[in-house]
Symmetry: C2
Subunit: 532 residues, 2 copies
């Protein structure tokens, strides 16, 4: 067998992807050079008609309603979103594959069904849905961010995909995740995905393609996965909404990554929705529960969606500093802004100190690659693919472990989870308001502290992200605090508000384990108070 040539293989993969973008959706030459903030390209390109711009401006719930009421056909909607996704791709390099013909055929079937029966097939009838690379779709490649797997075609839809399709969703685009699906940035053999608000910045990761696409209004609903922050970091970097449930509520089957061994339970990824309103996220979680996925996947909890009838005000913990890396000024500003709004709305705010942050980071980074990264590096080698510096960095946070070391580490994890739960119960809060990370959308190669998100993966708490409506602006100055430790020094050194202009400022809402319903309900209340 000939030695693989990584550069040639990458060029071929990129060319194949580019060929999926219809010629008529290419930006005119006059659009170049593209501005740093690329969100206006939908309007300025002239590719979308006024009705199509109207469509992509809607969030999921009103869009689904408009389709059900025959204001728009599913074909019109799919067309609008294919155009928007094509532009988003040219703006940010977020797309792995666009398949307009397949989407239009599916949309036509739905239109016919509605015309014939007068009924929608489900609550997502005709709503386009974008999907992260590693979440498998029958007949499409799921390379999981690895070049060698570019031709591995899925024989079956992932379980979650089946649920969303059955509800009427129309797949039309697959999006890029980073190499090995394990950075909070988004680079791979397919190149770097850029942040739509400021192309110098990363869009977060690993679900960076979804983040950029949604922020470009190139999708009304995306699906990602999160084992350390992978649906929350892109939402925060791109100014959209996302939700990471606890383990056991959303089916993982068919969404395995090629760098995490099946059968390894030390730390488990959870799939979650990404969207443009918190109500949309809640609807998706409800649709998943209503499909009774536990009847097909015995790893899931048997938990019908519970209706929350909260009365009275929330008691909200606020986490200002995890004790390792205190967030930079712009993040603090957003947090204070939200706290003030919540207080004004009558909610109770209490200070919350997380339980032993360093311990969480120590345990989770050791749990990620118990083989010392062997699977990852073997996978890269197969296509002569160079390791991204962030791959080397995250693998290097742990080391190879033997059987008894893993068992000891999992015992430590369980003990830690018990301690975090006791700490939370003692605080007696309804939810927690927290930064998503220590900085807004970072510059490339600098997202090296995830503990504001991965903490809740290890602890297994549901957590969502929302945009505050604030952005990094010219009043944000570089912090002059003396770093308390090397990690803080590294993060502070990597961040410069002058370079992060325009980056959205987002926050995280965390709820208690297994309380997805209460968490989303609290998140709705908070979003209302902070942004409306």
């Amino acid at each position: 067998m000939a030695k693989p040539d990584g550069k040639a293989l990458a060029q071929k993969a990129i060319a194949a992807r580019d060929a999926t973008i219809p010629q008529e959706y290419l930006l005119p030459k006059s659009a170049y050079p593209l501005p740093k903030n690329r969100r206006g390209l939908l309007e300025s390109s002239g590719i979308l008609k006024p009705k199509e711009l109207e469509i992509v401006d809607l969030t999921l719930i009103p869009l689904a309603k408009a389709i059900a009421e025959k204001k728009y056909t599913a074909v019109e909607v799919a067309t609008a979103y294919c155009k928007a996704a094509a532009i988003a791709q040219q703006a940010t390099n977020c797309v792995l594959e666009l398949f307009q013909d397949e989407a239009l055929a599916e949309a036509q079937k739905l239109d016919d069904h509605l015309a014939k029966t007068g009924k929608v097939v489900g609550p997502l009838h005709g709503v386009p849905i974008s999907i992260k690379d590693h979440i498998r779709q029958k007949g499409h490649a799921a390379p999981c961010g690895f070049l060698y797997a570019v031709d591995q075609i899925a024989e079956e839809d992932s379980h979650l995909f089946k649920v969303l399709r059955a509800a009427g969703a129309v797949p039309y685009v697959r999006t890029i995740n980073c190499q090995a699906v394990m950075h909070l940035e988004c680079r791979s053999a397919w190149g770097a995905t850029l942040n739509p608000w400021n192309a110098d910045l990363v869009p977060g990761g690993s679900t960076g393609g979804e983040g950029a696409l949604l922020a470009m209004r190139g999708s009304p609903l995306g699906v990602g996965s999160d084992i350390g922050g992978s649906v929350r970091s892109p939402a925060a970097a791109c100014g959209i909404y996302s939700f990471k449930p606890s383990i056991g509520r959303v089916p993982n089957t068919g969404a395995e990554t090629l760098s995490a061994a099946a059968g390894y339970e030390g730390i488990i990824s959870t799939l979650g929705p990404m969207g443009r309103s918190v109500e949309d996220l809640e609807l998706i979680m409800r649709i998943i529960a209503d499909a009774k996925p536990w009847e097909y996947d015995p790893s899931l909890h048997v938990k019908p969606w519970r209706e929350i009838k909260r009365t009275g005000k929330l008691r909200i913990g606020v986490l200002r500093d995890d004790g390792v890396v205190r967030p930079v000024g712009a993040i603090n500003r957003a947090l204070e802004y939200a706290v003030d709004k919540l207080k004004a709305a009558g909610h109770e705010i209490v200070e919350y100190k997380p339980y032993e942050s360093e311990t969480s980071w120590d345990i989770i980074t050791k749990l990620y690659f118990p083989d010392g990264g062997k699977l990852v590096y073997d996978s890269l080698k197969k296509a002569d693919e160079p390791a991204d510096p962030m791959t080397d960095w995250i693998v290097g946070q742990g080391r190879e472990l033997d059987r008894d070391e893993i068992i000891d580490l999992v015992a430590r994890r369980d003990k830690y989870r018990m301690a975090v739960a006791a700490h939370w119960q003692k605080a007696g809060i309804d939810c927690l308001l927290s930064p998503v990370g220590p900085t807004p959308a970072p510059l490339p190669f600098t997202a090296k502290y995830w503990n504001y998100t991965s903490y809740w993966n290890l602890a297994n708490y549901p957590a969502g992200v929302f945009p505050t409506g604030l952005f990094v602006d010219e009043n944000d100055k570089k912090d002059t605090n003396k770093p308390r430790n090397e990690k803080e020094e590294e993060i502070y050194a990597s961040y410069d508000p002058a370079k992060a202009q325009g980056a959205p400022l987002c926050l995280q809402v965390v709820g208690y384990i297994g309380h997805e319903e209460e968490t989303l309900d609290a998140m709705k209340t908070i979003v209302n108070a902070v942004t409306k």
Copy 2:
């Protein structure tokens, strides 16, 4: 340090246990030699007064009602059960420790509370509760069937214990489990626990002490644990009721065994109630859910107890043969009897073939001891304790595994669970009626096939056991079927109905994963149809 002397240590442990039995509860010499069937000793010994015999004849729910209505005081009830447990100990060697003084003091407090407030502290107000060795109780030893740990005093109650105490239960006795908590028989340094119906037979295991105690009416409610059949086998052997839930509904904390490493997730034990009616088991499961144990233990599912309002008849699968060891004649007789009764009651009966039984046994026996039994043998060595032949046997079913072998095996387990779930869903049944094992209560050293129970541990389905009201009798003849394989040959050779006379015939009801409510509800319906 002097070399430990296992024999001397065992004698000391037994003497210490014997000293916990009040002198006045010792059987008169005239009671000896004890009959094979020892269940009548409560009456014949003359130790219990008529009112006390009336008390121990009640099952939990009417007993709790009688205490709440002040028909009996908690002190009267505790006294009656201490007497009954003392007799059960002398009849079957089922007790690890009886602590009457502590129980009476606790009962007195409850009586005072009821007198003063007119209210019970909870639904178990004054109900005595017996607990298996390894389920920890503050101030008491939990040697987990190991001699070396005889003096290891628990510093805290196990989580489940806390829940039951808070509901008003009164602990008074701790019961024997087998060495290493891993046989379906019940021998350890404390000697052999005997079957109350026929002292030549084993009482099942590992929770054999509870089984014997409950069958002697020495307890109204016991708690055990099950990782292969350990609450179901003793119920079947002793003719009582028990229930093994799915993982995640009953807290395990404080019930660790000394032979299973904390942090090892390949196969997980579940605690479950043992009692004298199916309604009692349901009440206990409801009390546990009502205590919201997930607020303290993040490994548990957030699942309030669901009310089941079933209408219409059940569709019941019947499993007659797992394809490896077909049950012997007496078990088949009980199964046919139950099927006839269920048909007569209008329920639908469909044949059910289990999905690849051999695969289940292969995976679970490999998952039990990934260290090749090192922890067990090291623990035995500490007190110069000889390994029981059943310890050697079960450890020998697996072998030491390295990290990647475990990960592969867990992946196989997950794939297998998916296949079992699909197989079950295809059958479209409400529940399954199955043997609990291939034979009634076995002779010592012969319980070497657990797959009728361990199958549902690997698959993680809830399963309960109930007595049909039938027993092995003189009409049961040795089977003359030609064995299909070595395992069947071994089991058939070990069983002789002539030696098993009087052994109760019990059956198992299995429900779908996470459906504890539906399973117990179906079990109630089945018990009603079969036994009433």
